[in-house]
C-alpha cells in the first residue's frame, strides 16, 4: 500500500466540475509533480487532499487511514503538510513564531501550562524553539528569526513557509508553486533546498509547478491536468514529448 492514495476523487463547485476522477498513488520518499494550465484544478486538488474542501466523491487515504472527512488540522497532524501558492503567512508573528506554531498539535502542556507557565511548558517551548531554529538554519533564514515575516524579502518568505511546513514533521509534503514569483537565482536555491530537505527527511513530495525546468529536474513522475482531468501521466521525458500535453499548453495547430 502506498503512503498517499487518492481514489476516484471528483469535486463540484455548484454546477462546475473542478476535478474529475482524480487518482494518485504516492510512495514513501517519492517526488511527484502536477502540472497543467491555469485554472486546471491543481490547487483545488491540494485543497481537497488537505481537507480544506471535502470531495464530492472519492477517498483520500494517508498511510492506510481514510482521511477524506477529517479537518485540515487533523490531516496536518497525521503527517501531511503543505505550502500555499500565494504565501499565507501571519502578519504579526515573527519568523521563529511561525515555525513554532506548526508544532501546535505536538505540544502537550495544555491550558494549565499556558496559563501558569509551568516547567513542562518551559521545556517544551525550548525544545520547539531549538527544532525551529534548526529548520530555519536548513532553509537559510535563521538570521531573521526575530523579524516579522512581512519585513523579509519575498524569496525568504517562501522559505519561511517551507520551514513552517517542515515543522509539522510531515510524511507527505505538498508544495503549491514553490518558485512562483522567484527570479532564476532564487529558483536554483529553492531547488537545492528542496533536494536537501528531501534527502535529509526522506518524505514524499507532491508539487505543483509551472516552471518546466524545475519540475523536470526534480520529479520522478509527472501528472498533467487539464479542465480537472488527468490527461497524461509519466516520467519527465514522456511528458515532455506527449502531444496531448503540448496541446493543452499551446493549443492545437490549425489544420490547413
Amino acid at each position: 500500500m502506498a503512503l498517499l492514495e487518492v481514489h476516484n476523487m471528483t469535486h463540484w463547485f455548484g454546477g462546475l466540475r473542478a476535478v474529475h476522477n482524480f487518482n494518485l498513488t504516492l510512495e514513501a520518499g517519492q517526488i511527484r509533480g502536477l502540472i497543467g494550465p491555469n485554472g486546471a484544478g491543481k490547487t483545488t486538488i491540494f485543497n481537497l487532499i488537505t481537507g480544506i474542501y471535502h470531495p464530492t466523491e472519492g477517498r483520500v487515504v494517508l498511510d492506510g487511514e481514510d482521511i477524506t472527512a477529517l479537518s485540515p488540522n487533523q490531516i496536518a497532524d497525521r503527517g501531511m503538510s503543505r505550502t500555499f501558492q500565494n504565501l499565507r503567512l501571519w502578519r504579526y508573528l515573527t519568523v521563529l513564531e511561525h515555525v513554532k506554531m506548526a508544532r501546535y498539535s505536538k505540544l502537550t502542556y495544555g491550558l494549565v501550562g499556558a496559563f501558569f507557565d509551568t516547567p513542562k511548558r518551559e521545556a517544551e517551548e525550548k525544545a520547539s524553539t531549538e527544532m525551529a531554529m534548526e529548520l530555519l538554519e536548513l532553509v537559510g533564514v535563521a538570521h531573521w528569526a526575530d523579524q516579522l515575516v512581512t519585513s523579509l524579502p519575498y524569496g525568504a518568505q517562501r522559505r519561511v513557509e517551507l520551514a513552517r511546513a517542515l515543522a509539522t514533521e510531515p510524511k507527505v509534503l505538498l508544495l503549491d508553486e514553490p518558485t512562483a514569483g522567484m527570479n532564476p537565482e532564487e529558483l536554483i536555491q529553492m531547488m537545492e533546498i528542496i533536494r536537501k530537505v528531501h534527502s535529509q527527511f526522506g518524505m514524499a513530495i507532491f508539487l505543483i509547478e509551472h516552471r518546466m525546468k524545475f519540475v523536470m529536474e526534480l520529479c520522478e513522475i509527472i501528472q498533467t491536468l487539464n479542465f480537472g482531468e488527468v490527461i497524461a501521466e509519466g516520467t519527465p521525458d514522456e511528458i515532455r514529448n506527449n502531444p496531448v500535453v503540448i496541446e493543452a499548453y499551446l493549443g492545437k495547430e490549425v489544420e490547413t
Binding site: N73, F84, L93, Y104, A114, R121, E125
Partner: protein
Amino acid sequence: MTTDSLPVNASQNGLRARLARFWEPYRSVPLLGWLIALLVSVGLEQLVGRPLAWALGMSKIPALFGIVVILDKPLLIPSALLYTILIYLLPMAIVARLLTGFSNRLARRLLQYPLIVSALVHLVLAYAVLYLWTDISDYRLLVARLTMIAIIVTLSLNVVNGYMGEFSCSHPGFMSLGAYTASVFTLVLFINDNRFGEAILPTSWGPFFFPIGLILGGVVSAIGALLVAIPSFRTRGDYLAIISLAFMFIVKSLFENLEVFGGARGISSQPDYATLPVVFVWTVLSVWIINNFVRSTLGKALNAVRDDEMAAEAMTVNTRKTKMVAFLFAAFWAGVAGGLFAHVLRYINPDTFGIRKLAEVLAMVYFGGLNSVTGSIVGAVGLTLISEALRPLEIYKWIIIPVMLILIMIYRPTGLVAFTEFDVKSLFQPKEAAEKGADHGAA
C-alpha cells in the same frame, strides 16, 4: 552616543535638545528606582501633604495629581500644579537620580535569584506605593480599585478583540453575570439582609470564601460565553459582534425582569470584601495569567487564526478550540472583574452593565492598544484618569471620549501601545547599557 547627537539637535531645536539632555540620566533608572522614588513621594505626601495643600490655598490634597481640578475649579490650577511638582515631580526626580546606581545594583542582585524574587520585591513596592497613596482619601481608594478592575476587563477584552481579532460586545454582559453571581454568593452565605434572609455561614468566614465567589462568577460568565460562542464561531465576520451585542441586552433585560435579584433596582449592601489588597492581588493574578497565555504557542495561535485562519489550520492548529478557549477565558476574567466591581461599589443594577459600560471598555481597549498587555494597562489607567478629569462635564463626557477615540483611530489605528510583548524579565532588568552611555555623556 549622546555626545554625537546632542549638538545637532541643539542647533535644530533648543527646547527639545534641552529636554533630551535633562532626560538622559533618567534613561538608566530601572523600574525599581522609579518605584522607590514614587514611594518616597507618597511618603512625603503623608507627612507634609495636608499642610502644603492648605498653604497653597486648597481645602484638601488634590486627589488625582490635580487633574480633577482642571474643569472643576480652574482657579486652583496653579496651586494644584505647584503641589504636584513639589510633592511628586521634584522629589521623584531627585531620588531617582540619586539612587540610580543603588537601584541598578539592587535590580541586578535580585535577578541572580529566581525571577519570582524580583517580581515579589517589585510587587511589594508597588503595593506599598498604592497603599500610601490611597490612604489619603476614600476617593483615591475608590478610583484605584476601579482602575485595577478596569485593567482586568480591558485585558480580557483585548484577548478577544486584539489577540483574536474578532469583535465582541458582550463584556458588560459577562461582567454582570459575574457581579450578580458573586453578590448572591456572598449575600446568601455570609450576610443577614432582607432580600436573601439569614446568613447560612458565619459572617467572619466571608472574606476567606470571597475568592470562591469570584471564581464562581467567572465560571458562570464562561458558561454564558459558551452560549455566544457556539453559534458565532462557525463562521468569521460580523456574526460575533451582532450575537454578542444581543447577548449583552439579553442578560440586561434578564436581570431587569428577575425580581429575585431586585429587578431594575438591583442588589445592594454587598459586604466590603473587595479591599485594596484583594483587588491588587486579583489584578496581578489576571495580568500574570493572561500574559502567560498570550505568550505561549497556544496563545499565539490566536494571532495565527486572526492573521490567516486557513494557514493556521493547515499547520495543525485546532482553530475552533483555540477560539473557544480564548473567548471563555476572556469571559471568565470579565466575570471575576464584575464580582470585584460589585463588591467595590456595593451596589449594582442591570443598567450598570449597559451600552455605556461597553463604550467605556471598548474605548480602553482601542485607546491603549490592540494585542498588547502594556497597552491594556495604559488604556485602562489613562481612560480612567481622563474620565475622572472630565467628570464635571457630566453627560458631555460621552461626547469628548468618543471624539478622542475617533482621533486615535485616525492617527494610531491600533492604539497607543499596540503589538508589543510584555516581558516581565526585561522589565526588571537593570539599565546597564544606558548607565554606561550616561557616564560617558557626563564625562
